[in-house]
Amino acid sequence: MLETIAFSLLNGLLYGMLLFMLSSGLTLIFGMMGVLNFAHASFYMLGAYFAYTVGSVTGFWVALFLAPILVGMIGAAVERFGLRHVHKHGHVPELLFTFGLAYVIDELVSLFWGTVPVPYRMPDSLDFTLFTMFGIDYPAFKVFILAVSVVMFVVLYILLKKTRAGLIIQASLSRPDMVSALGHNVPQVFMWVFAIGCALAGLGGVVGGIHLVTEPGMAFLMGPIVFVVVVLGGLGSVPGALIASIVIGVLQTLALSVDFSLAGLFSSVEVSRDSFFSTLWYMDSLRLAPVLPFLLLVLTLIFRPRGLMGKREA
């Protein structure tokens, strides 16, 4: 039992941190600009592909920095030449714009890199077993993912809370007129926020593309879950996104590792096998695990629409 719990906590933490890397950019953009970026997972995918292509020339460590910057530049261009013009028409056109963008990016990726997975592998310097617990190896790369996401959180938190730039960003959201009266270029601030958000997704792609598989379907696979994280954590709250990611990661792995069902929990209550509720009653946690995040999403929207640490309602 101890073994199972230890496994689940560690696996859950690792998966959660990967989710955080993906969703922090989305929560930043959503919180600061009010734009729900449907193409966010596509920027994550771009990060993975850029890192693969750049890395095959320069090596992984250079790609780790270059790829997110490239993705960020594309993000800036999207904001400057696309989103900014759509913005004045309101939320729905914005949503549709990013929705279409997701498909365009997907199609472009298939065009340039083909539809089969690319052999994007971890660098040799990280390809070893760091430690073994109960007979399961923990590759150094998984711990590296953990380290990158922690650094990402700390930097993001300091940037927003402790620096002048963070102050201006936050003020631009609630009082754009005042900020611009003080001589700051508000549209440019928004462009930077969007670029940083996309670069964060790109960074998630650089490490996530190695851990998972780099192929054109990866954006679709990750798309829905990042929205769960953002809503659960609270709009615009980076610490909230961190907590939500870890909660989802740990809950999901626990449900997969520990067998339990309603029938097992309340063994004194008898439910007939052919009754209407028996399917639900005897459903084991293994079958439930994949929908767990979405169940959480629904419950959050009903009972606490502003999420764990958000300040505004979703």
Binding site: F7, D106, P119, L212, G217, L221, P290
Partner: protein, 417 residues
Amino acid sequence: MARRNKPGFLAGALLALSLPITVNAQQSTDPIRIAYIEPLSGAFANVGDAGLKHFRFAADMINQQGGVMGRKFEIVPMDNKQSASESTQLLQRAIDDDIPFVTQGNGSNVAGALVQAVDRNNRRNEDNRILFLNYAAVDPALTNDQCSFYHFRFDASSDIKLEALTNYMAEQEGIKKVFLINQDYSHGHVISELAKKMLNEKRPDIEIAGDVLHPIGQVRDFSPYVARIKQSGADSVITGNWGNDLSLLVRAADNAGLDVDFYTYYGGGLGTPAAVGERGEDSLHQITTWHADVNVDENLTDYEKWFTDFKQRYPEIDWYYHQIYNQMFMLKAAIEEAGTTDAVPVAKALEGMTFDSPTGTVTLREKDHQMIQPMYISVMDSDAKYDADNSGLGFRTVAKIPAEEATVPTTCEMQRP
């Protein structure tokens, strides 16, 4: 009145006379269209796209050799997004467009829906019937309880593959504990049930250490499942997973240092070898109707050229679906025998047809329209002549099962028109 209508009558008569002639002329030169209903977007887009390239290549090769009765094959791609309901809508569109053949293979749930829809259409719509050629959906139900006169399967059905695979596994002394992990839909359910039954019959001493079903195309992180396999102490894993569900599973196992033998249906193609990499060597097995090094082992020079020509045209993937070769050439032969593309005569020509496939003589069993063909069990090997997916590793045959042994009985009671 009569005088005024005369020119109109003449024109009408001329038109009516010329109509059958032009229709006939059109029929003899129009391409023979095959609707290809597969996921071309979403999580399994890579698989659907690879299949499309196979069909286009085979069609082009046949067209270059003069086509079918002077007509050319044309593949019409339709994106079903891996959804059964979307597929039946697309099927209707194919029927409305007078396309005589439809092909599909990814997802037995989709294939099952298509069989039903094809049956319904052909019953109600006798002058516009359609044939369903299945190149990869392997649920045995499709050639047993749900069998249909209008459905033909060119891949080996799941129970045939499992029969061969468990025969091989039963001979491996080292196997003591087996873990089953499969996708949670008909195909995965069948493997989970049959594998338990067959292993129990052939090697009662083998313990089933675990049996897990996971949602198809939704799992991102397989490490909790891998932890379960590890804890169960299994030495071998049987999985019918395909596409990313297989790549992610094997990769998670590799990351955790899980030292087990994988026995798979689809380990050899469509991105999995590239995703798995060198650690699949000597541990990733597959059961298939053919793999690239069979050409080398059995000296099949013509088919080797087919393989390398395909590689030249599509460098990013390999010729993988051997069934598509058989399917296209057998369809050509059947249309030529029937002299038409109408569903019933073509189906009658296909029924019981034998064909000299590169791997030997294959037969479309009359009783249930299941292809009976030789099977190969192979394992990943860096010494193979041909790499799979440019991964640096190919496959080496460990067992060949002749056609007469790669068969299981059927319960099909087919309704013939």
